[in-house]
C-alpha cells in the first residue's frame, strides 16, 4: 500500500507523472519503459502501471509494440505539425465561441491564477514549468465547456504539440500571448480573444 495520499485513481496518478517526465524531456523519444521498473518505483503492482501505459499510448505519448512493451513516442514529424496546429485551433476556438457569453468571474479567476504561474515560469526561465502551466491554461479553457467529451477529443491533439515545445526563443513571449488572450476575454472582445488564441497556437 502506497504511503502517499490518493487523489485520483492509481493509473491516473502514474500516467500524470509519466506525462510530466515525457514532456519535460526526462524521458526521451525511443526510451523503453518496463512495467516492473515503474511498478517498483511507484510501489504498486504491474496492473495500474499497465493501465497508465495504455492511457498514454492513446494520448500519443507512448507507442506500443505487442509483446515488446512501450517506448516514448517519437516527436511528430514536421509534415504533421500544420495539421495538428489546425486541429487544436479548431477545437479551442470552438470552445471560446460556444462559451464566450457564459464565462463567469470564477472562470477568469482560475485562469488568472494559472497566468500567474506562467509568468513565474517565464521569469525564472523554467521551460519545464512553463510547458506544464501552458498545458494547464488551455486545459482549463477546454474543460470549461459543458461537454466533458470535448476534453478527451482535445487531449491527444494537444499532446502532439506539447511534445515539441520549443517554438519561442524568448519565454516571456509566452506570458504575453496568454495575457493577451485573457485580457481580451475580460474585456468581452470575442474577436480579439480568438485572434490571440490562434496566435498562441502554432
Amino acid at each position: 500500500m502506497p504511503t502517499f495520499e490518493i487523489f485520483r485513481t492509481l493509473p491516473e496518478q502514474i500516467a500524470a507523472r509519466l506525462q510530466q517526465d515525457i514532456l519535460a524531456g526526462q524521458l526521451q523519444p525511443g526510451d523503453p519503459l518496463r512495467e516492473v521498473d515503474l511498478s517498483e518505483r511507484f510501489g504498486v503492482s504491474r496492473g495500474p502501471v499497465r493501465e497508465a501505459f495504455r492511457q498514454l499510448v492513446q494520448q500519443g505519448l507512448l507507442v506500443l509494440e505487442p509483446n515488446k512493451g512501450v517506448r516514448v513516442a517519437p516527436n511528430p514529424s514536421d509534415e504533421m505539425r500544420p495539421l495538428v496546429v489546425q486541429l487544436r485551433r479548431t477545437i479551442e476556438v470552438f470552445v471560446l465561441e460556444s462559451i464566450f457569453d457564459r464565462i463567469t468571474a470564477d472562470d477568469i479567476a482560475v485562469w488568472d491564477e494559472i497566468l500567474d504561474d506562467i509568468k513565474s515560469a517565464c521569469e525564472s526561465n523554467d521551460l519545464n514549468a512553463l510547458t506544464d502551466h501552458d498545458l494547464r491554461f488551455h486545459q482549463a479553457i477546454v474543460k470549461s465547456h459543458d461537454d466533458r467529451d470535448l476534453f478527451t477529443l482535445w487531449q491527444p491533439i494537444a499532446m502532439r504539440m506539447m511534445m515539441q515545445y520549443n517554438r519561442l526563443d524568448d519565454l516571456m513571449e509566452s506570458y504575453r500571448e496568454h495575457k493577451r488572450i485573457l485580457d481580451a476575454i475580460r474585456a468581452g472582445d470575442q474577436w480579439a480573444a480568438i485572434e490571440a488564441l490562434s496566435t498562441n497556437i502554432q
Copy 2:
C-alpha cells in the same frame, strides 16, 4: 494493407467486437457493461476485457465512472457535430493532399474491394454492414498515410460521427458518394477527390 483485419492481441479483438455492437446499435447509449459478463462471454479473464474497455473509453464509445464501471457513451450533442465534421474533414483532406501523387494501383484495388462491399450493403439495405464498410473505407485511406500516428488521431474523431450514422434516407447515396471519391482519385483529379470527400463527410 491486408484486406481483412489482423488482430494481434486479445484486448484488440474484444474491443473490435464491442465497437461493432455499439455502432450497430445492439448496445444502446447508457447501457452498462460488466467485466465478468464479457469475460465469460469471450471465454477470457477480466484483464483483457478491462483493457478493451479502456481503449474504447479513449475512443469515446464508452464512458468510465471510477468504481462504477463503464457505460455506452451518449451520442454526441448536436452542438458538437459541426466541430467533429470539421475535424474529420481536416484530417482526411490532409491525408488525400499529402499522398495523392503517391497512390498506387494496389491502394486503389483495396479501396475498390471495400467499395464493392459498400455497394452490396446499400443494395441489401443493411445499415449495419454499411456503417462497418463505410468505416473501413475511410480507415483504409487514413492508414495509407506513412505516419501511422495519424490514424490514432483520426480514430476517436471518426468514432464520434459513426455513433450517429443516420444521415441518409437513401442508402444507395452512400455508395454513389464513395464511388465519386474513388473515381476522382483514379482519374488523378485531386480537386474533385477532395471535393467528393468533403461532401461525404457531414
